[in-house]
């Protein structure tokens, strides 16, 4: 009997990136939902809440930080792993301070990401 697969939301404005991440997480036995913008993701929360969010920080419109703040204000506790192609030390500090469970610089290594997701969502939802 297999436990239900954890639901991971991937938010990235780059279509190719979010498709590749989704594909990789699927292959890593996660269920994934991909969103092209922060607003799309926030809108989806009303219907389904993910177990973990892989959130691109630098996006047009709502940035990763805007979404973090929005979730905090809405008291939606969902682990957030911030990923960015614009790696800067101060950004890391800021994201972690805003409540992100992890901060990763692109490109992402599967093992590292999967480990972070698993540690974020706990053994209940982790892949078997």
């Amino acid at each position: 009997m297999l436990a239900a697969r954890a639901l991971i939301a991937v938010v990235d404005d780059e279509e190719s990136v979010r498709r590749a991440l989704g594909r990789m997480l699927n292959a890593s036995n996660f269920e994934t939902l991909v969103f092209g913008s922060g607003q799309e993701f926030l809108d989806s929360l009303e219907t389904r809440r993910p177990d973990c969010v892989v959130l691109d920080y630098q996006m047009p419109g709502l940035t990763g930080r805007d979404i973090q703040r929005h979730l905090a204000r809405a008291q939606i506790k969902v682990p957030i792993i911030v990923v960015t192609a614009h790696d800067q030390p101060e950004l890391r500090e800021q994201c972690l301070a805003d409540g992100a469970v992890a901060y990763l610089a692109k490109p992402l290594q599967r093992e590292r990401l999967v480990n972070l997701i698993e540690s974020a969502i706990g053994p209940r939802a982790a892949a078997v």
Binding site: S16, R19, A20, R23, A27, Q109
Partner: protein
Amino acid sequence: MEQAGASFDSAVDQPTASRIVGLEVGPRARTLLVAVAFASVYAAAARLGAALTFPGAPLSAFWTANAVILVALLLAPPRDWWIYLALVLPAHLIIQVLVLDLPLTRVAISYVGNCGLALLAAWGLRAVVPQLRRIDHFRTAVVFVLVAGLAAPLLSSLLVAVAFVALKLSTTFWLIVVGRTLTNSFAILTLVPIWLHAAVWIRGGSRTLRTARVIEASLLMIGLTVLATLAFVIPARVPAMAPALLYAPYAMLLWAASRFGVAGASVAVLILGGAAICGTLNGVGPFVGHSPGENAISLFVFLAVTCASLLLLAATLEERSLLERSGAASEARFRALFAHNMVPTVIWRADGRILDANDSFLQLTGLDRDSLRQRRVGLDALVVRSGSFALSHDASGDCLTVESPPVERELIVRDGRRIPVLMAGFRFPGSVAEGTTCLFDLTSLRRAESDRRQAELLHSAVLASVHDQIVVLDQAGVIIATNQSWQHFVEHSATRLFERGRVGDHYLAACQAAATAGDSVAAELLDCIHDVLGGVRAQRHLEFSRGDSEGPLWYEISVERLQRPEGGAVISRADVTVRKQALNQAQEQRQQLAHLSRVAILGELSGAFAHELAQPLTSILSNAEAALQILSVSTPDLAEVQEVLRDIVKDDVRAAEVIQRLRSMLARGEIRRQVVDLNRVVYDSLAMARSDLIARNVTPVLQLDPKGASVFADPVQMQQVLLNLIVNACDAMADGPPTDRRLTIATRAVDGDHAIECSVADHGPGIGPNIVGRMFQPFVTTKKHGMGLGLAICRSIIEAHGGRLWAENAVGESGAVFRFTVGVAA
């Protein structure tokens, strides 16, 4: 005689209307009037002649009809003579046949005789004196007396006498010959000169009479009339005075001849003759002692001789008077010419005495006329041996008062200056003692020569001083001058046909030969010279290089129009290697600087580039890891793997494009201008800065010309300029609210579609007054870490493309607008 007025021929020929007795008449009416008048005068003269016939002798005492015909013929052109002769006939017939009732044979003979006399006299006078107007020369008077006064009457009278005797109309042959000859001679010698002189006087225009002359003439005529009357008409009243009275009129005749010329003498003789004829016809006076025929002959001899001699005397006096007037006028002209002549002139005697000097001479020498005439001027004042000029005699001919051909000498004037002169002396014609010398002041000429020589020397010196090689061509392309630099070059360094040539060579032909042989520089030079000589261009330049062991040597040839009316061209050839090297070096430095500027802007965009590369790398890595996972199961979904691999390829291509853009911006290649769509460059530039714009929350707004924006430019440099402006715009908006961070980039055609203007507008605070006007200067910046070279380099790039880059504050809203123009692709 020839000098007096128009000829009678032309006057008679005149076809235009004229005035007769105050009436305006045409040529035909005038001719008719003249004819009628002539015929009437002839008839009257013939009637008068008949009335004055000597009693007892078939001779007229005063036959003037033939003098009338002669005057008419002398005043008329020969082609019209027949008209007058024909007009005589009716008048002759009327008088002789109708009035005097003479036989027709006699009338016919006398008609022929009269016309023959006039014809002979007119023809003879015209033959000897073609332009007879007045009898005012001795020679003319002699001819007139011999031809008209003697030969013509004599010959015609012989003819008439022969005819009369042959036809038995008369038996007194010699009486007819002598009597008719003398009566005609007297009438002709007195009346013809009067009428001729009257005609000249009437046609001369100036018909004023001085009162004194009129009074004198009146006194003369009255005195002569009284004396002649006393002597010939009423001698019996004072018989004791008869001999004295006979000679008394001669004084009056001489008076008339000397004071009133030929015409006056003729009138006087006419009065004398009138009195003598009157006395004789009335049987008184000195000519009544013999038979009527002898009396008549005696009277005619007296009158003819008196008249002829007085006429000759009057003509001689008149000629002398004319000569004196002419001489006086000539002397006056000479004096005026001498006095006012601008050529310094002296009149001298052969003994060295200066008789006179004109004002020009006195002005030139500073001497005064009296001193010169009285020889108070020392000879030393004018003499100079070195220049060989002397006032007095000099064996070499170098003096003022001898005959000499034109020679150049120096004249020492009063203040001691030496004046170069050209002088020539000659004796007056017919004089051995007097002559004149003219001088021409050569000072101006010498100064002009000296100036010209100096100018030529300066011209040569300037040409010699110029380092460039210079060749001067005439309009035909022949070398007319070269400088020393050119000559040295020709002798030592010239290697090509068009680099040679000496004065006199046909340079165009040399260039043509070199061009034909395949020398492209010669062909271009030939084209330049043709353009300048043909007036197409005032000047043209060309550059060329030639190899050297130490690298290429660069030369510039300039062809300019020779500024002179005859045309021509000046070709100068300069070694511009150093300048060329400096230009190349400066160009290289500019390129290096531009490259550094590009590197700097790329540095500013490094974050964006890292992002642009990290994204495809993230996709590639994630896809690869997914594929590995898919393949790790026993029955992998190969279709999905295939899809994954396709995505990997796409992302790899995208990453490669980013790298390629970076490489092109970082490359240090030469400028390559080509047809570029400026809209495309805008898109590429925004793609490069996309991540930066996102990171800065800057929203790009594009207003690109939908018709396209093709320009002729180097695409990398255009991208460099745009990136610079984009980054500057983003920097300007960094402190503003994110919602206001709009970057507007627009393109549009300007300058009549000859250029594209691209503008980059921000919504920052705009250009501050402290920076405006300086922002394009190097090392002027508002950024903390900027060098202040970006905009300066951008402007140099745009200007190198022939465009313009400027900045202004946005109108109606905050922000700055940077605009640049680039010429469209042809």
